[in-house]
Symmetry: D2
Subunit: 331 residues, 4 copies
C-alpha cells in the first residue's frame, strides 16, 4: 500500500481517454485546437482573463512563471522549505539567470507579511545587496497547509506596496481548493501567475502555467521554447488539462485524495505535526513504529528521525486508508 507520494500515481482513465482522443494529427507545438482553447477554459474557471501554457513539470512551471517577474539581478522571497528552494535542483538559479531566493520563515511552510518583511526589510536599498522582485507561495504548502483567501490577499497587498510580483506554486492546488471548498479564483487570489498542477492529481505529464497578466505570458512563450519545453505534440498535454478541467475532474480528484488523508488523520491525534489541510500527513513516530507499519505493507518516507510522511492520491483506496488509520491507531 503506497503512501510515498502522489507524484508517481497512475493516470486517471479520463486523462487517458482524452489523450487517445487527441491522436489525430493537428498543428504542432501549441497551434492545435486543444491548446488554443485552454485560455478560455481557464478564464472561465478563474473568473478573470487568463493565459494558459502547458509544460511537463512543476519545476518548469514555477521557474518559467518566476522568470517573467524577476530580473537576473533580483530575488524571489519564498519559504525556507519551499519546493523551489529544496527540491528543484537549482532550477530557479538557471531559469532566473542567477537571481537569488530569499528564505522566509513560517509555520507549516507558509509565509506571511511579517515573515516576508523580516527578510526584505533588512536589505539595504543599494546596489550592493540583491533586491526582491517577487514573492512565491505554495498552495497547498509543502506541509500540506492551505492559504486562506485573506492570507493571499495580505501578501498581494504587500507585493503591491513593494512593487513585487506574486507567484503561486499550485502543485497541489486541487487539494487546497478541495480543503477550502472555495472557487478556484478565490483559492488563487490575485496572484500574477499560478503553477496549476495536474501530474500529482491524476495527470501524466502536463502542468499549466496560468498567467493573469497577459504581458507576462508573452514573455513566457519565448522562455518556454528556449527551455526546450515546447513539445511538438503539445496536443497530448493540452488534452490532459482539458480532461482535468472538464467536469471538474481536478477538484473531485483532489477531494478524493483529501478524504483519504482525512481518514488517516482521524487516527493520528497528537502525532500530527501539522493540521491536515490537503493530502499530506506528517506523523510523529519512532523508528520501531515505522518498522511495524512497513511490516504491515505500508510504504512511505521517513521524515527525519522521528516522523513519517504519508501522501494520499486521487486513487488511494478507501480500504487502504482505513487500514493505515487502524495501523497507526494500533501503534
Amino acid at each position: 500500500m503506497k503512501f510515498l507520494s502522489d507524484n508517481a500515481a497512475s493516470v486517471h482513465p479520463e486523462v487517458w481517454d482524452a489523450m487517445r482522443a487527441a491522436d489525430a494529427p493537428d498543428s504542432p507545438y501549441d497551434g492545435d485546437g486543444l491548446s488554443a482553447s485552454l485560455d478560455e477554459k481557464m478564464s472561465s474557471l478563474f473568473g478573470r482573463e487568463s493565459k494558459c501554457l502547458w509544460v511537463a513539470t512543476g519545476t518548469a512551471a514555477n521557474c518559467l512563471a518566476l522568470a517573467t517577474m524577476v530580473q537576473p539581478h533580483g530575488a524571489v522571497v519564498c519559504h525556507r522549505e519551499a519546493h523551489i528552494e529544496m527540491d528543484e535542483g537549482g532550477a530557479p538559479g538557471f531559469y532566473l539567470h542567477g537571481a537569488k531566493l530569499l528564505l522566509a520563515e513560517g509555520e507549516g511552510a507558509k509565509i506571511d507579511r511579517g515573515s516576508v518583511l523580516d527578510v526584505i526589510d533588512p536589505i539595504r536599498d543599494d546596489v550592493h545587496q540583491v533586491q526582491p522582485h517577487a514573492i512565491s507561495i505554495t498552495q497547498a504548502s509543502e506541509y500540506g497547509r492551505s492559504y486562506r483567501p485573506e492570507e493571499v490577499a495580505g501578501l498581494r497587498a504587500l507585493a503591491d506596496e513593494r512593487g513585487l510580483g506574486l507567484h503561486m506554486d499550485g502543485a497541489r492546488f486541487a487539494n487546497a481548493a478541495a480543503f477550502l471548498d472555495l472557487p478556484a479564483g478565490e483559492v488563487a487570489g490575485q496572484v500574477d501567475a499560478l503553477s496549476f498542477g495536474f501530474v500529482k492529481n491524476g495527470g501524466m505529464s502536463a502542468e499549466a502555467i496560468v498567467f493573469f497578466d497577459p504581458a507576462l505570458a508573452d514573455v513566457a512563450l519565448y522562455r518556454r521554447k528556449r527551455a526546450g519545453h515546447l513539445q511538438s505534440k503539445g496536443r497530448y498535454l493540452a488534452a490532459q488539462i482539458h480532461a482535468m478541467l472538464d467536469g471538474d475532474l481536478w477538484l473531485s480528484n483532489g477531494r478524493a485524495a483529501n478524504a483519504a488523508a482525512a481518514e488517516i488523520a482521524t487516527a493520528c491525534g497528537e502525532r500530527l505535526m501539522h493540521p491536515v489541510e490537503a493530502n499530506e500527513l506528517f506523523v510523529r513516530c519512532t523508528a520501531a513504529e515505522r518498522e511495524a507499519l512497513r511490516a504491515k505493507g505500508f510504504e512511505f518516507y521517513d521524515w527525519g528521525a522521528d516522523a513519517a510522511r504519508f501522501v494520499t492520491a486521487w486513487n488511494t483506496r478507501e480500504e487502504d486508508a482505513r487500514a493505515l488509520a487502524k495501523a497507526i491507531a494500533d501503534l
Copy 2:
C-alpha cells in the same frame, strides 16, 4: 493528406500499449524499472557502453548533451542551418550559459573537416575570441541528407585533434539508419553523445540522450533536473523508448517513412533540390504549382518562394504517397 511534418504525427499503437502497460505505480523520476533498464538496451544497440536519459524534446536533448561538452566561454561549431541555430529559440544560449554557435557551410546542411576548419582556423588562439569546444552534426541533416560512417569518422578525427566534443542531433536518426542500412553503432559513429529522436518517428513525448562517455551523463543528470526536464512519471517516457527499441520498431518506422519519401522522389526528377536520403523532400515548384497541389488536398510548407518541403512519417499511407507522386509528375 498531410506532408507538413513528421513532428505532429499520431503515436504508434505499440507506443500507446507500452505507456498503458506502465500505468502501475513505480518509483518516481528515473527510479522506475523501465528507466533503469534503458542503459543496457542502448548499450546493446550501439555496441558500446551507453547511458540513456529521456527528455521530452529534441531541443532539450541537444542542449543538455552540448552542455556537458561546452563551457560557458566556449562555442559549438554547427551548420548555418542546423536546428540548434535556426529553430530552438536560442535554447543553446540558455543551456550553455551564453556559449556561441559558430556557423559552418556545407552542401545539404552537412559539414565536414574543411568547412569546420574554415570556421575555426581563423579564430585567434587568445582570450579575445571565443574558442570552439564541440562540433554538432545532424543525422539525417536538416535537408534530409545522411552522413556516411567515414564522414562522421572524419569529424571525429578532427574533434580529437582539436580537443573538441562531438555531438549528433539524431532527431531523424532512424531515417538515416534506414537509408544507410547500417547498424546503429555505425550510423552514430564515435560521437560523444547522441540525441536519439523518437517523437518524429511515432513516439509521443520521449527523446533519448545517449552518452557514450559516462562522465558526461553524470553531469547531464543534474542539468536535466535543473532544466525542469526530470518528469516524476518518467516511466511513461521510458516506456515509449522501450517500445521503440523492442523489435526495432524505431527502424521499421524509419523505413516506412523513407519508403514513402522514395516513392514521391521518383516523380520529382530535376525538381529535387537535395538527394532524398531520409524522409524529407525539397522540391522546386512555382507558387502556381503549389496552389495546384494544395487544391488536390496536399498539405505542406512552402520552402522559400520557389520550392516546397514535403515530409513523410511512419504512418504516411502508401496511397497518399503515390497520389502525391502522381500529382507532382502531372505538374
Copy 3:
C-alpha cells in the same frame, strides 16, 4: 615607432593630474563628488538629460549598456565584424545571459537600414526563432569609418519602427567627432546608450556608459555592481572622465590622432582599403613591403595576408607620422 593600437598608449598628463588631485579620501564606489557630477557634465555635452556610469573597459560598457535593452531570449543586430562579435571573448553572451548576436553586412563595418533588414526580415515572428531586441553600431567603426547624423537617424527610425533599442559603441567616439566636426550630441544622434571611450584616447582605465533614458541607467547600476565593475575608489575613474571632458580634451586628443592618420593617409593613395575617417588606416601591402617597413622601425599589425593596419593615438608624434608616410610612399 608604434602604430599597433591606441589601446596601450600612455596616459595624458591632464588625466594623471586629475587622478592625483582625487587622492584625498571621499565616499566609496560612486558616492564621491566627482562621480556625482558626471551626469550634469554629460547632459551639457550631449544637450539632453544623460546619466553617466564609469566602468573600466569598453567590453563592460558595451555589454552593460546592451543588457538594459535586450532580454536573455532576444538578440542584438550588429555588424559581422563588430567588436562585440569579434573581440570581446563572448562577453555579450555572458552579460545578456545567452542572447544572440545577429550579424549584418556593410561596407566599412557600418550597417544601415537595408543590411539590418536583410538580417531581421527573414526571422519568423514565432517563438522558434530568436527575435531582435536592439541594434548596436560602432562610431567610429571597426574600419575607421564614421556614421553621419542622417545614417544614425535612419537606424533610429528603424529601431523605433521595430521596437528595438539602439546602442552606440563609441570606443573611438572622439575620433568620429573630430572627423565629423559636429557637436557630440549630433555625433551620437538619438541612441539610447553610448559607450563613450576614453582609454584609447589618453585615459587609463575609465570608460563612460552614457544613458539617455534614465530607466536604463537604473538597471545598469545594479548590473554594474553584479559584474564586479563598481570600484570602491571610483573617484579615480570619475577623475579621468572629468579630465577628458574639461576643456574638451577628449576632442583635442581625438583631433591629434586623426591628424596623424590623415598625414599618413596622404601617402597611401590606392593602397587604402577604407577612407580614413578616424585614426585607423588599413593599407594594402605585401609581406615584403611590411618587412621593409618593420625594418625601418615601424610597429603595426598585419591585416590578413595582404594588408597592414596602422593606428595613431593622441600622442603620435608628428615626425613619426611623417616618417611612416614617407616610408609608405617609398615602397
Copy 4:
C-alpha cells in the same frame, strides 16, 4: 578623522610611483612585462607555483576564482555573513551562472568543519538538491578575525574528503598576515585560489587572483576577458601589484593598519564584540555615545542599533587612532 572603511583610502605613494613608471607604452592587456612577471613574484611569495591574474575589484576576483571551481549546477559553502553573500550584488549568481551559496554559521564570520558539515550533510545525494562544489572563506573575516593555519588546514582536509574546491577571499589578507605574523604561504594555506586584495591596503584599482592550480588559471583567463575585466592598459594594474609586493609593502601597510586598530582596541575593553585580529573594530555603544564621538569629528558606520564599526587603514595617523582611543575611553 575617517574610520569608515579602508576601501576608499588614498593610494600609497609607492603605488603612484610604480604606476607613473609604467607609463611608457608596452603590449596591451596582460602582454606587458609587468603583468608577465607577476607569476614568478607570487610563486616566490607563496612558496609554491602560482599564477596571478589582476582584476579591478574584489568582487570580480572572488567570482572569477569561484567560477573555476563551481559548475553552474553546484554550490559554494560560505559564511552567512560572507562578503560574497552580503555585499556583492548577486555577483556570484552571475559569474557562476546560477550556482547557489549555501550559508554556514560560525563565530566571527568564520566557518569550520562542523559548521560546513551542518550545511552539507543534510543535502541528499541526488539531483533534486544542489550539491556543494567549493568552500569559500574570508581571511581576515568580515568581523576582522583571522584563520589560523590549522583552521585552514582543517577546511582543506574536509574539501579534499568531499571533492570540493577551496577559495580564500583575501580582501584583507595583509591584515591577517600581519596579525598572524606568519609567511604568506602559511596564511593562505593550501587553498586552490586566493583573492589577494590590495585596494583596501593602499592600492588604487588592482586585486590579484592567485591560482595555485594552473588549470584553474587557464579557465580564469577566458572568464576574465568575458567579464570585461581584461583592461587594455593592464600594466597599470600590474604595476600596483608589483609596488605592493616589492619590499613587502603589502605587509607593512597591513601592519600599520593593524597597529592603529590595536591602539584603539586597548580602550574598548568589554565593548569589543570580536577580538581584534586585523584592522576592524566592532564596538558596543549607544546612539548617544556614537553621537558624542561624531561630535568630536570621528566618522564611522553604525553597526546595527547598539554598536559601531571602526576601520583603520594603512595611512591612519597615529594621533587619530590615539584620539579615538581616548574618546572611547572617555565615554
